[in-house]
Symmetry: C2
Subunit: 137 residues, 2 copies
């Protein structure tokens, strides 16, 4: 019935996911990806399942989830069941972190932009940007 699923080497998985080979091996080492089948010579061979899982990891990482949270999400995804509440907790927590970072970066952008604006046009002996960093408030 089932045609044996096509296996790919780590390089193919890397190409198809855009994830570097070293990173794939790293994810395996830290237990995010299961150890795949091996050829007689020891080369890794992956099925489509690994590809889906790696894509999941990469999407979560792309949203900034730390690896620990990704691990948690994968566990919840693996264990079928009413995971929604726990998933939400992880996501809400991360969203809060993201918003905090966002607030920080917005401030940085504003202050930097102002500093640069003041700097621009100045061939002054004393750079106002340097002064700003030296003088409190």
């Amino acid at each position: 019935m089932a045609v044996p699923p096509p296996l790919m080497a780590i390089g193919a998985l890397s190409r198809r996911t855009g994830c570097k080979i070293e990173t794939i091996r790293y994810y395996e080492r830290i237990g995010l990806l299961p150890a795949p089948a091996r050829s007689r010579g020891g080369h890794r061979h992956y099925g489509e399942g690994a590809l889906k899982r790696l894509d999941f990891i990469l999407r979560a990482r792309g949203l900034g989830f730390p690896l620990d949270s990704v691990r948690g999400l994968l566990d919840l995804a693996d264990g079928e069941g009413r995971s929604c509440a726990q998933v939400e907790r992880i996501a809400v927590r991360h969203l809060k972190d993201v918003r905090n970072k966002l607030a920080d970066i917005l401030v940085m952008e504003k202050v930097l932009a102002e500093m640069v604006a003041e700097c621009r046009g100045g061939t002054m002996p004393d750079c106002p940007l340097i002064e700003a960093l030296f003088n409190e408030d």
Copy 2:
């Protein structure tokens, strides 16, 4: 004439700047702070100059400048002269980085917020957030 300037131990410098002791020593190790005077017993003693310099570093770091850029800014600040153009280059470069990160984080925030919104209220067997991470686009 000049009353010898009051010296402080590393703990006092730490308290006055809000910078952890270990971090101060770290900055010294990597050459951002000059090696201070020492007591006979080997304890570090700092003057007001060190305080100003550390404050400068902390403000630059607070604006997200990487340590390498901080080093560059300090060099320019040290070497008196028309540093403005070079300072501006460093700052503009950093501002660009900050804006890139800002754009990334804004996307993250939006997507995450949407995901969480969909998750909320769901005691579904299949969490939509997990699904979203599993299914491409």
